[in-house]
């Protein structure tokens, strides 16, 4: 074991310091890029959590449940509604988005617990997302329907005014780093192993004394809560919460981020979010062709790197492979 490590400059120990250092390094970004680029960076932070949460269900738990846009929309509307009508401070609204997202996650888990799997689970959870979109559209006394719900002009996060991309960046970075860290802790524990064990073989997981239903629920609730937080960030990023932001195209983008980054990998989630947030922005300079380029890139990556872009890192060093334990 130690032998393999010594041959490579990149060891797990060194990598750990890199992971801790990256968010600190990221603090310089607002000082070197313009407002537009910073908006993209902020979107990446939002989508990192979107992908992280979705990946727990698709990659770790191994269930084809597509309720992610529902969680995302529910999180965004929860935060927006509480801030608009309840004058709730943003930090509390984020917390409530996590709670309500978690409850939505629990509802989605019921289908999986009832033994609904594969395509059936996929279609039921997609329907859940579309149902929620119908609710946003038709609950227009509260959600303002297709006009979208505009969030208040002045939003503060613990006294910091989120009036431009720069303060938003610091808040989003803080949230993203915190959520990634606790999720990483969770996935490298007995809980994370139980979730992956269910993906690998649900029947034998139970034979080890693991209450599988409990961990299926936990995975969905955690996923819903994370994506709910992402929704609360998204509301502030876009300043107006619109029903069409949470449609079927959005599901495909979320799924693409998981697959292109790498299923079941936290690093993969970050890579997937970065790639699929930046590429469409980059291809905007080729109007009319942008979607074509975008599509080709996705197909190529999946064709040649079926385990996602993160598998390129595994070739550089096995230390990039995430483990399901923590020593």
């Amino acid at each position: 074991m130690a032998k393999v490590k010594e041959q490579n400059l990149i060891t797990r120990e060194r990598l750990r310091w890199v992971y801790y250092f990256l968010p600190i390094l990221a603090l310089v970004i607002p000082f070197i890029v313009n407002e537009y680029i910073l908006w993209i960076v902020n979107a990446i932070l939002v989508y990192t959590l979107v992908t992280l949460g979705f990946n727990i269900i698709i990659g770790n738990l191994g269930q084809l449940a597509f309720a992610n846009t529902a969680f995302f929309g529910i999180g965004a509307y929860t935060a927006a509604i509480l801030m608009v009508y309840g004058n709730m401070p943003y930090i509390l609204a984020i917390f409530m988005s996590a709670i309500v997202g978690g409850i939505a996650g629990f509802l989605a888990s019921v289908a999986a617990l009832r033994g609904i799997r594969l395509y059936y689970l996929a279609i039921i959870t997609l329907a859940f997302g579309e149902l929620m979109r119908w609710v946003y559209l038709h609950g227009d006394t509260v959600t303002k329907g297709s006009d979208g719900l505009k969030i208040p002009e002045e939003i503060y996060f613990l006294g910091l005014s989120l009036d431009s991309e720069v303060p938003k960046f610091f808040v989003f970075l803080l949230l993203t780093v915190l959520v990634v860290k606790v999720t990483s802790n969770l996935m490298r524990s007995k809980i994370g192993r139980a979730i992956v064990s269910i993906r690998e073989n649900e029947a034998t997981t139970a034979s080890l004394g693991i209450h599988t239903a409990k961990y299926i629920i936990l995975a969905f609730v955690w996923s819903g809560a994370i994506v709910g937080i992402a929704g609360a960030m998204f509301a502030v990023l876009t300043e107006r919460v619109l029903p069409e932001a949470f449609g079927l195209t959005e599901v495909i983008i979320h799924f693409g981020m998981v697959l292109i980054g790498g299923t079941g990998s936290i690093v993969g989630s970050v890579i997937g979010a970065i790639t699929l947030t930046t590429l469409p922005e980059y291809f905007r300079q080729f109007p009319g062709m942008d979607e074509l380029f975008f599509g080709i890139i996705i197909v190529l990556i999946l064709l040649f790197l079926p385990k996602g872009l993160v598998s390129l890192l595994w070739r550089i060093s096995p230390a990039f492979k995430e483990r399901y334990y923590r020593d």
């Binding site: 074991m1 192993r193 992956v196 690998e200 034979s207 080890l208 693991i210 334990y325």
Partner: protein, 254 residues
């Protein structure tokens, strides 16, 4: 000595088909008890009924004097009845070490908040489990493959990992569903030796489904013979060898 496991008139029906019919027997600590019988005799169904994977239609199953029929598989496992599977029991994408750690799940005492916040108690519990898992892998000469996904291991190593994973919590009763299938003859002997030692030295009660008749005759203390869901004979290897009904049903000659 009180029996470790007690089955009384256990029947399992699958839509009218009697997979198990009125099966009664006891199993004891420190004993290797082989379950033999032709294909379709109900051997695996018997294991599934004991471990909670199929509900028994009638009869009672008790472990350490406590009824366990009707309990969920994970609860039966927690009570101390652990099993292996004929095929595909492992978690292929997980490493050998991670498989063993999953086997130690119930022994890792760590709360949810402690885990997500990375608090010392949770980390200590995790570290202890890792030390223990590595020790177990060492014992079975699997230390060198600890960090490899089990799908990359040889058939023999995979069997060993599964048995180590099942044994990790030191369960009083172990159900082994064809533990030597697919192993080379020397590996088979080694595996049987380990099984004998678990019973003899650790006092574990072992129920073992096995097809290789020589291994059964030499390696078990008691044999029960199933045929078409019924228990047709029970006894020491020498006794069963003489049994006329067994010869007809299983060994294929009268």
């Amino acid at each position: 000595m009180d029996p470790l496991l007690k089955l009384q008139n256990v029947s399992v029906n699958f839509s009218g088909l009697k997979a198990l019919n009125n099966v009664t027997f006891n199993a004891f600590s420190g004993e290797v008890r082989a379950v033999i019988g032709p294909n379709g005799a109900g051997k695996t169904t018997l294991f599934n009924a004991i471990s909670g994977y199929v509900p028994s239609t009638s009869g009672s199953i008790s472990f350490n004097g406590e009824p366990i029929n009707g309990l969920a598989p994970h609860d039966i496992s927690i009570k101390g009845v652990r099993r292996t599977f004929q095929t595909g029991g492992l978690f292929p994408e997980m490493t050998a070490l991670e498989n063993i750690l999953a086997g130690l799940h119930v022994e890792i005492k760590a709360g949810f908040l402690d885990i997500i916040l990375g608090l010392p108690e949770a980390r200590e519990a995790e570290r202890k489990a890792i030390v223990r898992a590595k020790k177990l892998l060492n014992l079975m000469d699997l230390a060198s493959v600890a960090e490899q996904p089990v799908k990359d291991l040889s058939g023999g190593q995979q069997r060993m990992v599964e048995i180590v994973r099942t044994l990790a919590t030191e369960p009083p009763l172990l159900l082994l569903d064809e533990p030597v299938v697919g192993l080379s003859p020397p590996m088979r002997d080694r595996m049987m030796e380990i099984i004998r030692r678990l019973a003899g030295e650790e006092g574990i009660g072992i129920l073992l489904i096995e097809h290789v008749i020589d291994l059964v005759m030499s390696g078990s203390d008691k044999i029960i013979v199933l045929s078409s869901g019924e228990l047709i004979a029970e006894g020491t290897p020498a006794e069963v060898r003489q049994d006329r009904e067994v010869l007809e049903a299983y060994l294929g000659h009268a």
